[in-house]
């Protein structure tokens, strides 16, 4: 594992930059992308650096942003544009190496170890940054480090248009004095847990007793402690983009909701959305999770694992509503979500029949027998029932959607 050179490429205020490149008159202006501003879902998804200078930030409610900066230009998201720009960016990265791992629509890792034997790594990074700027008219920051964690940390250090090298020997000086909350992988709740162990800075985490960390935070804590010491063995995996593990959808409700019929309706429509996306990817999964965010921003989730992987909207909705009815205590909810996880390709799935449903499968027996005969005669995969490989053009409907990953065609 010694001597790797990993890049983390992070597009700067990606959605806003794409809009600015699309309409150059927006350049230099305070610009924000937000969901539907009429409903409450109007929060800022991204904003340009000009807007940030005025105190506008991601997740800020639109009305508040408008009050703070009346000149702020607010645009609705245009996901097709972002997906196209994302694809062009990753295609450009792949001209350097196949070892490119997209993480989300606007960031990814590259392993340039081989390439850096011939050329200076900083030179490669400068060239990539320049080409993305010249060819795509988009700004990005690049972190250069011996592993993913440090590369990601580095790309964050100078924005926009930064190139930062972070060596393992630098962490004592540049990482350890920072608060743990500044570290990737540590959120509010982990920071709180660490605080209860008297750990406030990344340096304290790095030097903490391993047993204490393990009993307080489990395996995840051990991993964080390693990262704090600049250790991260994860490989750059170009295929990880294809390993969808879960598919989910969530929605912020127009008002804090207490009416269970309306909440059931929300779960049904989210289930339909999840079912559509599972269908588009020919996936199914046995685990259904519901998310509930209460009016005072408490997040709760509950999940159930069924015997058979499911993909139909009715089945997903049934499981979600059963979970909801069992666990909701009447607290007003501002957001609900549904996720199907542990997904596998439908072709690999198997369904345990039940006394109460086998008859509808039994109807297919003559067809299956015929297929069996043909297969044993002509070999497997000669035919499939229905249109097994069909792929419905899916529409990205949320900013957190990972459907952009469909754009990365497997060779």
């Amino acid at each position: 594992m010694a001597g790797r050179v990993i890049f983390h490429i992070d597009m700067n205020s990606f959605y806003a930059s794409v809009e600015q490149s699309h309409d150059p008159s927006l350049k230099g202006k305070a610009l924000a992308i937000a969901g539907n501003p009429k409903e409450r879902r109007g929060i800022i998804v991204t904003c340009s650096y000009e807007a940030r200078a005025h105190g506008i930030y991601t997740t800020m409610p639109v009305f508040e942003a408008k009050r703070k900066l009346p000149a702020l230009v607010i645009l609705p998201p245009n996901f097709d544009r972002y997906r196209a720009a994302s694809k062009a960016m990753f295609d450009l990265l792949r001209t350097y190496t196949d070892l490119v791992e997209p993480v989300s629509i606007d960031e990814g890792y590259m392993d340039v170890t081989a390439l850096s034997k011939e050329r200076d790594a900083i030179g490669i990074a400068e060239e990539i940054q320049l080409r993305i700027r010249n060819e795509l008219d988009l700004p990005c920051s690049i972190g250069i480090a011996p592993n993913k964690f440090l590369a990601k940390t580095a790309s964050d250090m100078k924005k926009p248009m930064g190139i930062t090298v972070l060596r393992k020997r630098d962490i004592r000086e540049r990482l350890w004095p920072l608060e743990v909350l500044e570290m990737h992988g540590i959120g509010e709740s982990t920071a709180r847990k660490l605080k209860s162990l008297n750990i406030r800075t990344i340096g304290e985490l790095a030097q903490a007793d391993e047993g204490t960390i393990k009993s307080g935070l489990g395996k995840y804590g051990i991993r964080l402690r390693k990262r704090a010491n600049g250790e991260d063995e994860r490989l750059v995996d170009p295929d990880s983009v294809y390993d969808t593990k879960s598919i989910g959808a969530s929605t912020t409700l127009p008002a804090d909701e207490t009416d269970d019929r309306k909440l059931h309706e929300a779960f049904r429509s989210l289930s339909a959305k999840v079912a559509r996306r599972l269908e588009a990817k020919a996936l199914s999964g046995p685990t259904v999770t519901i998310q509930m965010r209460t009016f005072d921003w408490q997040n709760r989730s509950r999940s159930a694992t069924l015997r058979n992987p499911i993909y139909r909207k009715e089945e997903i909705a049934d499981a979600a509503i059963t979970l909801f009815d069992r666990h909701w205590d009447g607290t007003p909810l501002r957001l609900v979500g549904v996720t199907v996880s542990n997904v596998i390709e439908k072709q690999e799935a198997a369904e345990q029949l039940s006394l109460f449903d086998f008859e509808k499968h039994a109807k297919d027996e003559p067809v299956l027998r015929l297929m069996d005969k043909l297969e044993s005669k002509y070999g497997k995969q000669v035919l499939r029932k229905g249109t097994g490989r069909r792929r419905i053009e899916s529409v990205s409907e949320t900013s957190f959607s990972k459907d952009f990953l469909d754009d990365h065609e497997r060779e």
Binding site: K346, Q352, S354, F358
Partner: protein, 377 residues
């Protein structure tokens, strides 16, 4: 109240009644064990309000003195603590004395514990089961019946009635059925003392606990049923269980009466072959094996998991009659069923790759196991 008792006898009784005690009870006093002491002996009672177990330790057994009572009385003690104390006492002689305010002293050797007891009057009454006995059954046969059916109950609460075993008494026969809707186990038992008709659904958990505390002997167990409770009475144990409400589905019409393929095969050999094939299953939920008839004398058991590898095994069959067959099913369900039949030769009857199939012993048809196949895509 004051008495002396042999520690191991008290511990045996306690460990039986503790099976009914749960730490997660809505009624705080049920975390305790009730002890009633009289000149005849000690009754211990534990309950979680679904299951109630009472054991009796006689003062004298086969002419041997087990306990010596100086003064009778009743007390409720925290089950977990009391059990642990008795388990760890230094000698086999224990003296227990209760003063006013339920102060309890436990002495053994040079060790003395003071425990705070609870008022026995606050402890719930035993369930009211006054009815006549329905039938009597040897303990070892009862244990066998439980073992052959209870594994097939549902573990999911979506249809609560399926978490129990349906006991139906009719025409001088006891028919026990359990199903989780993916497989079904049925056991028929002819019993002499059967007269009335009765039908009840006994929670699977109750039967599992009952199986643990009954000894493997031919001693009779009396079964008494009301509309809400079942009581199993053996020599020194009373075991009460709440019954499940709701109608149990009529399973008799779900059991196919005809078949298209019949395979007779050695049960033990098939069990081992399935066990081997399931080694390649990635995880329990995908524990699927494929079963194929191969001419008229052989079946093939195979399993394939894309990430690990595949396995095929030929198995000589006693007889194969009817249509060719290829079917996939859960290895676990098949192994459970074969273990329950525990016979030499097993007859398996299939009606199609997407329909339930049944297994029974070639020698008698008191046990029937039904399994729904798995559809692979």
């Amino acid at each position: 109240m004051k008495f002396e008792i042999m520690r191991d006898r008290l511990l045996d009784g306690l460990s039986d009644v503790m099976k009914a005690v749960s730490s997660k009870t809505a009624i705080p006093i049920l975390t305790g064990v009730k002890m009633d002491v009289s000149a005849d002996g000690i009754s211990l009672t534990g309950s979680d309000s679904d299951i109630t177990i009472q054991t009796f330790i006689p003062a004298e057994e086969d002419g041997k003195e087990i306990l010596r009572v100086s003064e009778g009385g009743s007390i409720v003690l925290q089950a977990r603590v009391f059990g642990e104390i008795i388990r760890k006492l230094p000698t086999n002689e224990v003296e227990i004395e209760i003063n006013r305010n339920f102060q309890t002293h436990i002495r053994s050797g040079k060790s003395e514990f003071h425990l705070i007891g609870l008022d026995p009057l606050d402890y719930p009454q035993l369930p009211d089961v006054q009815e006549e006995e329905l039938f009597s059954i040897p303990a070892d046969l009862l244990k066998t019946i439980i073992r052959e059916t209870v594994f097939a109950v549902s573990t999911s609460e979506t249809r609560p009635v399926l978490t129990g075993v349906h006991w139906e008494v009719k025409d001088g026969e006891l028919v026990c059925v359990a199903t989780d809707s993916h497989r079904l186990a049925r056991r028929k038992t002819k019993l002499q003392s059967l007269q009335e008709e009765h039908s009840a659904v006994i929670p699977g958990r109750s039967l599992n606990e009952l199986n643990k505390i009954l000894h493997d002997s031919a001693d009779p167990v009396e079964v008494v049923m009301t509309s809400q409770q079942v009581l199993f009475k053996s020599r020194n144990i009373l075991f009460f269980s709440r019954l499940l409400e709701g109608n149990y589905p009529d399973t008799s019409r779900l059991i196919p009466s005809e078949h298209k393929t019949q395979v007779t095969v050695n049960g033990r050999a098939l069990l081992q072959a399935i066990d081997r094939a399931s080694l390649l299953a990635r995880e329990e939920r995908n524990n699927i094996v494929r079963f194929t008839t191969n001419g008229s004398e052989e079946v093939e058991v195979s399993s394939n998991s894309p990430e690990i590898g595949k396995v095929e095994e030929q198995l000589a069959a006693g007889a194969i009659e009817g249509e060719e067959l290829k079917i996939s099913f859960s290895a676990k369900f098949m192994m459970d069923a074969l273990k329950a039949i525990d016979g030499q030769d097993v007859v398996i009857q299939f009606t199609g790759a997407m329909r339930p199939f049944i297994l029974r012993s070639a020698l008698d048809d008191s046990i029937l196991q039904l399994i729904l196949p798995v559809r692979t895509y």
